[in-house]
Amino acid sequence: MKEKGRRDFMGMALGGFTALGGLGALYAMKRSWDPLPSVKAAGFTTIDLSAAQENVLNVEKWRGKPIFVLKKSADMTQDERDIVIGSDRFHVSIGLCTHLGCIPAYLPDAKKFKCACHGGEFDTAGHQIFGPPPSPLEIPPFKIEGTTLVLGEEGPEFKKMKDAGLIV
């Protein structure tokens, strides 16, 4: 009886230590798989908006992703998701279809974005208007500094959009 109690105790102690070690190892594995600090630090980009032309799509790069910058012409519908600088309105979004991540093409004549992968379409405010995309094109965190845009930092205009529930 006594012998058995001792063996049980040893078994439990050993099991406990193994479990602890296992958890530690799992955590280490999870952390090893995380994005590197250098990858995270390189997450800022500035874009100068002063030279943009109306109805011409500019594609910039931020965190490896394409960023759509479209200066809106007067006949395009205004939207709360537009970024307003002075008298100009811009549509800025991450250029990846919210369905499965293809890059939609901009059709300047039809004034809409079309995703060739599964036929999704977005209007010039980034709202999905046709096909499988479940949500509007995403707006990257931005901060306005004069006529330049800093991506990767949340400025007051971005926070306002976020509070209004415009950022998904």
Partner: protein
């Protein structure tokens, strides 16, 4: 300790047998591993698969010696170094590429043979399940390998597939970025998929192959009529010299000779493809280097994933993901949703026969549509085929419940 023969010469058969039981092993694994006489060439697909896996392993080892898992070098190491500098590098690449594609054709034949003859039923459930595990691991292996040349299709397939993990609320946990190790597929992504492709997944596959063979040893292989054979009795007959009366033959050398013949035919076709039509396994888009700022106009996976890709496509994102998920695991359940007690070929099982062909044709339709651009009538057809696929499971339960005992 066991008795050892003093006079046995080192490494002679006797000497080895005393230390490794080689004779027992030989008997259990080959000369007295009994195979029913009544099986056709479709049963040779297992060995064909094993041989193809061997080719993949060997050609892969040679590719591994020159491949560079780095986003700046990967494309050139494959398309320049291996293809034009390394002596016969092109041969390994073509063998590897063609085998990776053809292996899925054989796997599908192997699976549909099993379904047709009811080889997944009572007593053989684990054969089916271990086989499905192999199929899923092979899919992961194929996908991770597809990333490595780092061409346009590699990049965008990686982008699209990892985006699947942003479904529902998963995005909030940063799961996609965690899997990629970056905001987009990049260096971290390439190297971790390289590791998966050349080490972790092959290890798992080898383990699963052993398991799959193991699950086969006790319930024995099924036969064309689904007849229950008393293997011990039949084996006694065979060993007593009554080979005509016995219903079984030993795996080696008797059945193996059939396997080898089928493999011979297969390898003629295989090497025809390797030498004259390797391009069928290589997407032209993947000969453009990866570019994160330009999507190819139409992204589709390799042919063997098209059916499940097409199931994903007609639905909105989250339901699409669920349908896709169901399609991946539904086949695992086959032994349990087939409620009929009959182990018999499909043409003897009435409605099941119809079900089988609807299933097969639906898979082919999905595969064809997956490749066509997602426009107009194809969208509708795709949706119909996907819905049919999802209804096949419940239909099978009903059909097999109604089935009378043969």
């Amino acid at each position: 300790m066991a008795k050892f023969d003093e006079k046995a010469r080192p490494f002679s058969e006797k000497w080895l047998d005393e230390r490794l039981a080689v004779n027992t092993l030989k008997r259990v694994l080959s000369t007295e591993y009994w195979i029913p006489k009544d099986i056709n060439f479709l049963w040779a697909m297992g060995m064909v698969l094993a041989a193809t896996f061997g080719l993949l392993l060997i050609s892969g080892i040679f590719l591994l010696m020159y491949y560079k898992p780095d986003v700046n070098m990967a494309f050139d190491s494959v398309n320049y170094t291996i293809m034009s500098e390394v002596g016969f590098g092109w041969l390994w690449r073509h063998i590897h590429g063609v085998a990776a594609s053809v292996v899925f054709l054989i796997i599908y034949i192997h699976m549909f043979t099993g379904i047709y003859y009811g080889s997944y039923k009572k007593g053989r459930e684990l054969i089916w399940i271990s086989g499905m595990l192999l199929f899923v691991t092979f899919s992961a292996e194929a996908f991770s390998g597809y990333m490595l040349p780092w061409g346009q299709m590699s990049y965008w397939a990686g982008m699209v597939i990892t985006n699947l993990f942003s479904g529902g609320s998963l995005e909030a946990y940063g799961l996609v970025e965690w899997i990629r190790g970056d905001y987009v597929p990049g260096d971290a992504f390439l190297t971790r998929f390289f590791m998966l492709h050349v080490l972790l997944l092959p290890l798992v596959i080898i383990g699963l192959i052993v398991l799959h063979f193991g699950t086969l040893r006790i319930p024995h292989v099924n036969n064309q009529e689904g007849a229950e054979i008393d293997f011990e009795e039949a084996a006694e007959l065979y060993k007593a010299g009554k080979k005509k009366e016995s219903k079984v033959i030993p795996f080696n050398p008797v059945f193996l000779s059939k396997d080898v013949f089928v493999m011979g035919v297969y390898f003629i076709l295989f090497f025809y493809l390797v030498f004259y039509h390797f391009e069928f396994a290589m997407d032209p888009v993947n000969f453009d280097p990866a570019d994160g700022l330009k999507t190819p106009p139409h992204i589709y996976p390799e042919w063997y994933f098209l059916w499940s890709y097409e199931i994903l496509r007609p639905f909105p994102k989250d339901p699409g993901l669920i349908a896709f998920g169901i399609a991946q695991v539904a086949l695992f359940m086959l032994p349990f949703i087939d409620r009929s007690p009959n182990v018999a070929p499909a043409h003897k099982r009435g409605l099941f026969f119809v079900w089988f062909w609807v299933f097969l044709i639906d898979m082919i339709v999905l595969t064809v549509l997956g490749k066509l651009p997602p426009e107009g009538i194809f969208n509708t057809l795709g949706a119909v085929a996907a819905v049919i696929f999802l209804l096949l499971g419940p239909a099978l339960i009903v059909i097999t419940k109604l089935e009378k005992k043969l």
